[in-house]
Structures are given as structure tokens and as C-alpha cells.
Symmetry: C2
Subunit: 349 residues, 2 copies
């Protein structure tokens, strides 16, 4: 393999696992050292570069990778208005009080209309927590849509990885809604809390496909309201249908995040699930599945990026598209030809 | 280029625009001829093969492509419960009565829970319409999730193309919900109707990002209910913010689909928009944009398919994923190496 090409594509290749690199390696070494020593400005900058798919993103992620694997990543999803933000704040505070370092990624694939409000609230919260626990103990980051939604799930996982490398023990990944996009994001966590509220009644059944299935723990928040029993019954009814073969029956917890009621018990349930995941290689298996999905998305992205590098730029795409729209070119024929031109023939049989 | 490889990848390549092909070409010629002569069984089979990404899919789509471009594709989206199905049925009937042939694709990216009910209703509707208008005049197809949701938008566009090649003048593409997935689907149509209902009030503002922007016509259905004026005001308020530069201000129509009230006026608005699209190359430009998005998705899919053909199968992905989850392999390094192995080096500078 051509060495210059190799290093162009992956500058961190020879340095990801060592500190013996040259100038470029040295640059990332210092970066990572400062990141791991709790430098919040370096952390914020690394996340921004990764989130924006900057040219340095792959090198940063590669450099972060050896410092990950020990943290627990918890996905928190559920219908809007279920009180997820408050719940996540309470959980974060609980973990902080027990001496753990916590990172929060809040993902909003919806509208800029709502994004502002959330950010405002949460920055105040972050300041409050940072004040009492020190910079290294807590970090909050809000993310909005990046390109396609598959891209957002990937970006969220990348940001979580950087947070983890910065020394966090717990990463909370919170989504605003509960659609297919949010399911994709939550599935990249080690465990998923699905937050429901009383009054949903039959609506539990109308949750999008795949949502009930990803829940490792059900949380009925605002459980001081009327109808908590009803929601619990609905969940149990669906569980009896769907969870026949599962080795883990997701427990149902009740909380009132605004008062902190039930947070202790929820944290205990999280710990129990964490122990269960640690047994019989379950966590390793789950993470291998995550990486499998992620590798597919990463390869898709990288192949398209390479196609662009090989001259298949946006102008070229536009020309083809115009020609197809005018009926002058067959798109399936074109794609097959482009793929052949781009790919090395290795199996000419 | 190796001829056998070429024909393996795209069997229709030499026959898409001619009838001078060999045995394989002849097969598709007959297929297409029967499709265009209104053979509903051939149409149903073609759609199934395309929807399931059968090996024949690209050949079928290639064969269909020359017979497309004249039909109008109308996307219909909006919140669940807005009465979209009834509205689409009414519109279909209106177009049929005016002598046009109509195809309907109803897409449900949500749950199997709801899919059944919709299918049941609509099959009855299809029988009713088919009975009074003959097989060739109307065709209804329901689709559910295929793989990723990007995949579903692509599959919907493919199915619409086959429907169009079968001789339909109008293709109605109806989505069940109004999330990001549905936006992607609707964006592949020539024009988009966004269906709202009275009582949404402030909720109009909470529609996901990108939904208001894709609307070419707003339909306030169930407009006999209280609150229609309010919804219209909300839409106008948002329009005054967002539509500053648009050459087309989406009109707001009121319907009561259950009684048929307002359908005539809606159809007239659709015709007006169609005429507007026909001017100054607007339709061609819009379709070129659609094909641009679609080409990106098609190339991504084809590159991954080729990667699989080149030995990067699911087992290989699983092995890599396990090794990464165990911290033994750097994923960014791996992806960069895989991409290099797969792609022909053309720019070694």
C-alpha cells in the first residue's frame, strides 16, 4: 500500500495506540492528553470537529478510541412531554453525587422551534451542575439534525465516544421524541430507558414499531398523576405478547422527576441491568451488534466520500440528474456503470 | 469493459431502449408489453419484485423507465387522523371520473399494528373502484417499512415508477404520518399536499422541521369542524415568515373528504399547480433535484452491494464488529482500509 496515500486517509493510523508518532502524532497526543485531563475547551472543540465531520474527525475518533469501552452508555427515549430532560438531569445528579463523572448528549432531530428552549434550560442546568461538581465531572451537549437521520445516529455515537474518552463514567444519550430516528440513536447505547407517562392509555400500543422492543427499562414518569396503573398494565400486556424469548424482562419503574421521587430506585435498576449485561458476555455481544450497524453506516459514508474524491462531485451528480429527468439517461444503467468504475474488480468470474 | 460482467450487473443495459435484444431482452419486452396493456397481475408481480429488491429489480426498472415522465406524482402527507386516506380516495375517484388512470401508493413506515386496518379498508375501496372503472384505470398498493427508512423512500419511488410505466396518468403517494421519513417520501413527488385538521391550533408550529417547507398545497380537511379559521391563520402566519422568496405561495384549500365537499376545488388547485410547474422548466428542475437525491441513495446502495459481492459479507462485518467491541481494532482505520481495498485508485497524487 502506498504510504502517503495511507497516511492521507488516516493520519492517526500509526499513532492511535502509541505515543511514538511524528509531528502529526504528537499534535494528537497533546490533544488527547489535555482531553483526558479534563480540559473542557479541548473537549468542546473535539466534539464540534467530530459533529461537523471536519477533516480531523477520523483522526480524533481514532485517538479517542483506545480510551473507551469502560463507560456505560444509557439511551433515554420516550414521547415528547414525558419529562425526559428533568429525568436525565436527576439521574445525572444522582450519578455525580455517587462520585461518577457524567456526560449528557441531548439529541433533537426535530424543529429549530423547540431546540432553542431546550438549550436555554439546559445550559442553565449545566452551569448549576458544573458549579458544584467541577468542570471534569459533568459535560452537557445538545445536538440537532445533521444531514440525513442515519447521519445523526452516527454523529451521536461519535460524540458519545469523545465524551467517554474525556473520562466520563456514564454517558446519558437523550432524544427529544420517539420516532424511528430516535430508535436508531437509542440503539447505539448499552441500555435504553423508555419513558412513558400516565394518560397515554391505549396510546402505548400506537408507539412506532421497534420502540417497545428496544426498551431495557420502562420508566413511568409523572407517576403521581392518575393513570399510572393503567400504563403499567398496558406495558405488561404488550410484554406478555412480545417478550417470550427474552432473557431479560424489562422492569417497570415509577418516578416523579420534578421531586426526585423514584430516582434512587431507577438508578438501582440501572445498576442491576449493568451487572446483568456484564455477565455471559452480554455487553460485548450487544456492543458488537452496535458496531456492526455502525460499520455499515461508516462504510457507506466513506465509499461516497471516496467517490467524491474520485471526481464524482455534486456538479457531476447534478448533470446526471438533469439528464435522467429529461429521459436521456437510464439511472439504473448509470449507477451500475459508476459502481464498476469506482470499484476495483476482484471477482471477475 | 468485460461484457459478461457488464450484463451480469445490468441485464437490461442493451435492451432498455430497444426491442432488438436477445433472449433476456425478449423476456422483458413481453413483460413490459403486458404491463403497458393493463395486465394487473404483471403489474402486481413487477411491484413485488421491485419492492423486495429482487435480482430482477434493476432490469424491470430500466425497462419501465422509457415509459415514464408524463404522469403527475402527487405526495399526500399530514398528521395521522387527518383523514388522508379518505381524501386520497376522493381525489382518485375525481381523477378517474375525468377519464384519467390513477395509481395509489400508501406508505406506512410505522407499526404493523395499524397496517392491517388500513389494508383491510383500502382493499375494499380498491375493489369498489376497480369494479366501476375497469382494471387498467385504477391500482392501489400498500407498502410497509423496508430496511432503513431511506430505503423506504427509494422503494416508494421505484414502485411509483412501475405504476407510471403501466400507463397511469396520476400517481398518488400517501404517507400515514408526517415525520422525517414521510418528508423524504413526499419530496420524491412532483407536488406535495399537506393535510391539516381544525383543532391543531398551535400544534401547526410543532410540526417537524421541513414539513411546512415541502407543502405546495395546504388542505384543511374535516373543515366542517370548529377551528378551521384558526388553522388557516396559523398557516398564513408561518407562510409570512418562511415563504418570502418562494415564487409559488401554497394555496390553502378546505375539504370535508367524507362528504366530498371541496374536492372539486382541490383538484382545480392541483391542476393550477401542475400548469405552473410546467412553465419555465420548473417541473424539469424539480425532477432533476429528485433524481439527484435518488442517485445518491442508489449509488450508496449499489456500492454496499458490490462490497458484499467482493467478499465483505455479513460474517466479515460481524467479525470486525466483535473485534472492535473488544477494543482490538480501530474502526476508523478499518473503514479507511476497506474503502481503499474496494475502490479503484484513480487519483494517487
Amino acid at each position: 500500500m502506498d504510504a502517503s496515500r495511507r497516511s492521507r486517509l488516516c493520519p492517526m493510523e500509526s499513532n492511535a495506540y502509541s505515543t511514538a508518532g511524528g509531528q502529526e502524532g504528537g499534535k494528537w497526543d497533546i490533544f488527547i492528553r489535555r482531553l483526558r485531563h479534563g480540559d473542557t475547551r479541548v473537549l468542546a472543540r473535539a466534539i464540534t470537529l467530530v459533529e461537523n465531520e471536519a477533516p480531523e474527525a477520523a483522526a480524533i475518533l481514532s485517538a479517542c478510541f483506545p480510551h473507551t469501552g469502560a463507560a456505560l452508555r444509557i439511551g433515554v427515549t420516550g414521547a415528547p412531554g414525558a419529562g425526559k430532560s428533568t429525568l436525565v438531569d436527576r439521574l445525572a445528579r444522582h450519578f455525580l453525587d455517587s462520585g461518577q463523572r457524567v456526560g449528557v448528549v441531548a439529541v433533537d432531530p426535530t424543529s429549530p422551534f423547540t431546540g432553542g428552549a431546550i438549550l436555554g434550560d439546559r445550559i442553565r442546568f449545566q452551569e448549576r451542575l458544573s458549579g458544584s461538581h467541577g468542570d471534569a465531572g459533568f459535560y452537557f451537549r445538545s445536538m440537532a439534525t445533521r444531514g440525513s437521520l442515519g447521519g445523526l445516529a452516527l454523529a451521536t455515537a461519535d460524540v458519545a465516544l469523545v465524551l467517554e474518552a474525556s473520562g466520563k463514567d456514564i454517558i446519558l444519550i437523550e432524544t427529544v421524541g420517539v420516532g424511528q430516528d430516535e430508535v436508531e440513536i437509542a440503539r447505539l447505547a448499552d441500555m435504553v430507558l423508555l419513558v412513558l407517562v400516565p394518560g397515554m392509555g391505549d396510546d402505548v400500543q400506537s408507539l412506532k414499531a421497534g420502540v417497545m422492543e428496544i426498551a431495557d427499562l420502562f420508566v413511568i414518569n409523572k407517576s403521581d398523576r392518575e393513570g399510572a396503573d393503567r400504563v403499567e398494565q398496558e406495558i405488561r400486556a404488550l410484554q406478555s405478547l412480545a417478550q417470550k424469548h427474552a432473557a431479560w424482562t424489562p422492569p417497570i419503574l415509577r418516578t416523579t422527576a420534578t421531586t426526585g421521587e423514584g430516582i434512587e430506585a431507577l438508578a438501582a435498576a440501572v445498576s442491576k441491568m449493568q451487572r446483568w449485561l456484564g455477565e455471559d458476555g452480554r455487553l460485548a455481544q450487544r456492543r458488537a451488534q452496535h458496531w456492526n450497524r455502525r460499520l455499515h453506516a461508516m462504510l457507506r459514508t466513506e465509499l461516497m466520500r471516496s467517490a467524491r474524491r474520485n471526481g464524482l462531485g455534486e456538479n457531476q451528480f447534478s448533470d446526471y440528474a438533469r439528464s435522467i429527468a429529461a429521459g436521456r439517461q437510464d439511472p439504473w444503467q448509470l449507477i451500475s456503470q459508476l459502481a464498476q468504475q469506482l470499484l476495483t474488480p476482484r471477482d471477475p468470474a
